[in-house]
Structures are given as structure tokens and as C-alpha cells.
Amino acid sequence: MRLSLLTTKRSCLSPGYRTCAGCPITTIVRHVLRATDDPVVVAVATGCLEVTTSVYPETSWRVPFVHSLLENPAATISGIESAYRALKRRGRIDRPIKFVVFAGDGATYDAGLQFLSAAIERGHDFLYVCYDNQAYMNTGAQKSGATPLGASTTTTPAGQTGQRKDLTRIIAAHDLPYAAQTSLWPWPDLYQKAQQAFSLPGPKFLNVFSPCIPGWKIETDMAIELSKRAVESRYWPMYEVKNGKYKITVPVPKPKELEEFLKPQKRFAHLFKDQGKMAALKMAIGEQWLRLENLTKL
């Protein structure tokens, strides 16, 4: 698969949406939706993606797009997919449709966790994509359940003191057909995981690393570069869980220095003046990788 071939597929979004310069969210969305040839129906949580692509009376969406509230896109898609099944059974619709959710980490790790858990447990046929930028970015970078140890946010200005949730592992514990953690680098990983997810019936989950330009206080050309450094430093492990089996999809035998990932981000600037905090973050990342390696041996 060549990257240039992907661009020959029509985008689900028309140009002119209002994301920040350099924001990777719409790149993630376009990548994911190009991984299926079936028509899609998209539901989103309140957040950056929603407010930058559907400002009345305009819309960027070339596919059906539904926004209800912050925490409930998994329930919204449950309703849409249930309606689809009911109408199909009654002969009022027959073509295949894929159902996809896009939501940020605030809507997924925090407010919507119960909704997502229940939608998976009920077994709806949908793909849930979390774009994880590690804080409530649409409201101005407040701490979420995805905020990493030590990161400065507007509600943890001195640095987050707790560990972030390992959401992908929480979701994998539902024993669903497919759950994976991915990133825009290396780019085929996201595309292939989305393809894999679309090929399976039932609930699927992708957690996608999504650097935030204003929230992380980084330059506008850094989103893909930081995705790369996050993967290469083991900060963001790339793996999938298919039918209960863990597999690392991008092995990192010789991790690069974490500092290379942290340095361009002002949210971590204070760690460079506090060796204890830096060591604590490194330890958390090391433990996360070890835990993952152990899981792959099961």
C-alpha cells in the first residue's frame, strides 16, 4: 500500500474546516474512514472535532454525521445501529453500512467510559475511535483521565500527580473482537488497524495518539514528528488485541531517549528541572512496556 494511493479515495470531509493549524485529528478521521469501502455513519462526542467541522449553517461532512452530547456517542451509535437492524429486519433498508464513533479522551476515558463499556457489552456492530490528546483540549487543556504523570495542564499547572488510565487495556478486558492502540506514525499502522477493525463484526476500538498543538504548546509542524518520537521512545506502545491475544505491532527493541519526545512540549518543561519527576515518568513508561510484553506472552 502506497500512501499516495490513499489520497485517490474521496475524503469524508470537505476542505475548509476550522481545526488549528497542524492539528492531526482530521488526518486521523480521513485515514480511518478511507479504510472501508462501505458507506459510513459517524457519531461524535462534543469536542474539537465536532466544533471545527459542523458550525451551522455549514458542515464539512460528506457522510451522515450525528452529534448529541459529550459523554454519549457510544449510546448514540448504539441507537443508530439498533435502528439499522430493526429497519433491516422489516425490509426497509438492505445495504451494508459501517458505524463509527470519533471522540476525544475526555469523552472516552472519563465521561463516556460507562457508555462505551455498555455498548461493547451489548455487542453492537461499530468502531469506536478515541483521538487521545491527553487532556480536555477543546475547553483549554484541563486534566483528563488520559493526562500522563507529570504533565502540566490548566487544572494541574504544577504537573499531574496520578497515573493515566490504561484505557486500551480496560477496553480489551471486555473481550471484544478487536482493540488496538495506534498512531499516525508509522502511517500504515493506523490504516491497517482500521481495515482490520472494519473487517470484523461486533464492537471494535482504536485508541489513536493525537498530539495537540496549543494544548501541548508545540510548533504546528510537530504532530507527526512527536507521534514518531512517542512510538520510538516506548511512550506510546503500538499494539493490538485480537480475540484476547495481545500483539505488539511496532516493536521498539532499542528505545530512543524519552527526552527527545518531551523536550518540544512545554507541558513537560518543568520535568527538566526536577529529576525526581522525570525519573517517575520514565519508570511509569518502562513499567507500561513491561506489562504489555508480559501480556503478549499470554
Binding site: 457519531a43 454525521f65 450525528v66 452530547l69 454519549n72 443508530i80 439498533s82 435502528a83 430493526a86 422489516r90
Partner: protein
């Protein structure tokens, strides 16, 4: 061919029967006393192969209404039921349903709101949602529950309305009481309600639509004014659909009922009017009979359509009476109770103006007898 069946059902069973006959596509459910029997009854129908819609067993009432919103956007006919804390928990989504103009139907087994915990009847739950843009239709008895479920569906789905509707029945008093009623044959119900009119659907992938956009101050008020004006149109649609239903059932469907020893179109021999919602209106009719036998010129006004509220029609009906006693089964702490507040609004500026007296009764299921109502007049 049999067009109607005389039967005995609880209020909850009547809701389930209406759901079955309305060919509902999606029923999201979550248990809460005293509504649980409704969703159990629908589930039992499905288990016996008599209901072919999707029952979605949600994890909270917030999810119930969120699922309802999604399914309705996808073009499905959606009905659910809830009560009390369930209504409180889904409050946020109720506004979404109305704002997105989705004709979702919800039966409410009216119950008190915590704290303290109480599972019995009062009207605090639906009153807490009265300004969110839903149609609200009250029910005195099981027959009205059945009829109003069909009527609410017809009005909510009208192409000029497209708004959600609550059908309000008193927790335990009506949800759990077995009463006589007459149900219509399946094909007659089908003929009355028809298929849901769907202007746009999220499943129409060839004509993609965007639902729930961000609307900035320039346009936001336009949506709200449109919503209000549409809800106001419900009065006429309710009467119009009511006439069609009356032709099938032989019963009448006014915006409110007047009782002067018998049902009347206008009050003639009345000095004092009692105003009661839902089941207690039935008890109050007995009280009116007792009082009229002792020579007192007392009547009852039972609002049926609570949202939109028929201010002008009620003002006309009450013009000329000396005294109106309004009985609220919920409170507005630090303010006038909801029903009396509406009645005072309706009567404002009348000359001569009736004296309006406010009474609160029956909170948290406290029983109300005919004698107590007689003594309160």
C-alpha cells in the same frame, strides 16, 4: 371483524400494548420503580414473538434517551418509559431530543424525586422537565393511558410537529392498577398511526445530513423560537388527531376535561372549580359529586395537555367562576407550585378575576381520599 376488545390491564400493560400495536422499531429500556413493569411487559411480548422491534437494554436512563435519540435520527419509531431519578438522569438528553426535533415517545410513571428516597407517586419528575420542549399529556386512568399513547405518537410524528412527547401516568396508582378498558384492533391502530414520517435520516447515506451542529449566537435564537412556535401548534394538532381517534373509539380527547357532575363542554352551574392532574382527578370527581349533592356548586378542571399549556382555552373556561382551587402534586421550592403558577398565568387580567387558592397534596405517594378533598373545598 372485531374492531375493539374490552379487557383488563394495568397502566403499565396498557403502555406495552400500545407499543406493540404501534409497530415500534426500537425500545431502549432501563428499570426503575414504578415503571419497570412496562419494559418487562414489552420484553415478555418480544419473548413470545409478538413484538419484533429492537429492545436495547441500556446501562442507565441517560443511555436510554441517548439511544432513543440515535435511533430516532436513524428514522426509527422509538418509545421508552421511565420515572423519577431516571427522568432526572436523562434530563440533559431530553433537551437534545426536543432540540433535534425527534418524535420520541416516553411513558412516565410519575414518582417523587430524591432526597429523601421515595418510590411513590408525585409529579416532581415530569414537572422538572416541563420546559425542555417535550409535549406532555396527562392520564387519569388506564383507558386514557392507552388512548393517549396512540394520540401522542400521532401528534409527535405529525410532519408539522416532529417533537418528542411524554405520556404521564401516576406511579403505582395507575401503573400498577388493573382497570377495565377497551383496546382497538391492531389494524385500526396501524391505520390511525401509520408509518413514521421521516424527512431526513442518518441512514440515508446517499443524502448525508449533519445532526446537532454547533450553532452560534447569530442563529441560535431562531432555532429556539421555531421550537416554541412548533410546540404551540400542538394544541390544534392534538384536537385534530383527537377527533380522528374519537371516531374510532367513541371517546373524546379535549385539551382539558370539565366535570360538573358529568362531563361538560363548558361550566354552567359552577361557583368553585377544583384543578387536578392525572389520577387524583378521578377521586376529585367523586368529591365533586358529594359536594354537588349537598348543594355546593363545585366542578373539576382536569388539564390533559400540560405542554403546550392551553392558557387561553382555560382562561375562557374559568371566566366567571368565583373561586379556583389548584391542587399541585409537586412543589417549586421558594416559588409557586407548577400547576397553580400556570393557572394564575391563564387567569391574569380577567375582570372579575376568580380567587385562586393553592394547595399541595399527595407528595411521595401520600394517599388522598374523597373526604379529604371535600373538606379542603
Amino acid at each position: 371483524m372485531k374492531t375493539a376488545t374490552r379487557t383488563i390491564l394495568t397502566g403499565s400493560q396498557a403502555v406495552a400494548e400500545a407499543i406493540r400495536q404501534s409497530a415500534v422499531d426500537v425500545v431502549p429500556v432501563y428499570p426503575i420503580t414504578p415503571q419497570t413493569q412496562m419494559i418487562e411487559a414489552v420484553s415478555a411480548l418480544a419473548a413470545r414473538g409478538r413484538f419484533s422491534g429492537e429492545i436495547v437494554r441500556a446501562e442507565t436512563e441517560h443511555a436510554v434517551m441517548s439511544i432513543a435519540v440515535g435511533a430516532s435520527i436513524a428514522g426509527a419509531r422509538v418509545i421508552t418509559a421511565s420515572a423519577s431519578q431516571g427522568i432526572a438522569l436523562m434530563w440533559e438528553v431530553l433537551g437534545v431530543a426536543a432540540g433535534l426535533r425527534l418524535p420520541i415517545i416516553m411513558a412516565v410513571g410519575n414518582r417523587a424525586i430524591s432526597s429523601p428516597l421515595n418510590i411513590h407517586c408525585d409529579h416532581s419528575d415530569s414537572m422538572g422537565t416541563r420546559d425542555l420542549g417535550w409535549i406532555q399529556v396527562g392520564c387519569e386512568n388506564v383507558q386514557e393511558v392507552y388512548d393517549h399513547m396512540l394520540l401522542a405518537t400521532k401528534v409527535a410524528e405529525d410532519r408539522d410537529i416532529q417533537l418528542p412527547a411524554m405520556v404521564l401516568l401516576d406511579g403505582f396508582v395507575t401503573t400498577h392498577s388493573l382497570e377495565n378498558l377497551v383496546t382497538l384492533a391492531d389494524d385500526i391502530v396501524k391505520g390511525f398511526i401509520g408509518e413514521r414520517f421521516v424527512e431526513k435520516s442518518a441512514l440515508d447515506v446517499d443524502h448525508p445530513s449533519t445532526w446537532g451542529p454547533l450553532v452560534l449566537p447569530e442563529h441560535y435564537m431562531d432555532f429556539r423560537i421555531d421550537q416554541h412556535e412548533t410546540l404551540e401548534k400542538v394544541k390544534a394538532k392534538f384536537l385534530e388527531a383527537g377527533e380522528q381517534l374519537a371516531a374510532l373509539t367513541g371517546r373524546e380527547y379535549p385539551l382539558f376535561e370539565l366535570y360538573e357532575g358529568k362531563k361538560v363542554d363548558r361550566l354552567k352551574e359552577t361557583d368553585t372549580v377544583l384543578v387536578f392532574l392525572n389520577s387524583t382527578a378521578g377521586t376529585a370527581k367523586e368529591a365533586v359529586d358529594v359536594l354537588r349533592r349537598s348543594g355546593q356548586r363545585v366542578a373539576l378542571l382536569k388539564p390533559i395537555l400540560f405542554r403546550p399549556f392551553p392558557y387561553n382555552e382555560i382562561r375562557e373556561a374559568l371566566a366567571g367562576v368565583r373561586r379556583v382551587i389548584v391542587y399541585d402534586r409537586s412543589m417549586a421550592y421558594g416559588a409557586q407550585a407548577p400547576l397553580v403558577s400556570e393557572i394564575r398565568n391563564a387567569l391574569y387580567g380577567l375582570n372579575p378575576a376568580p380567587e385562586v387558592i393553592s394547595r399541595i397534596y399527595g407528595l411521595g405517594g401520600k394517599d388522598v381520599t374523597v373526604e379529604e378533598i371535600v373538606r379542603s373545598v
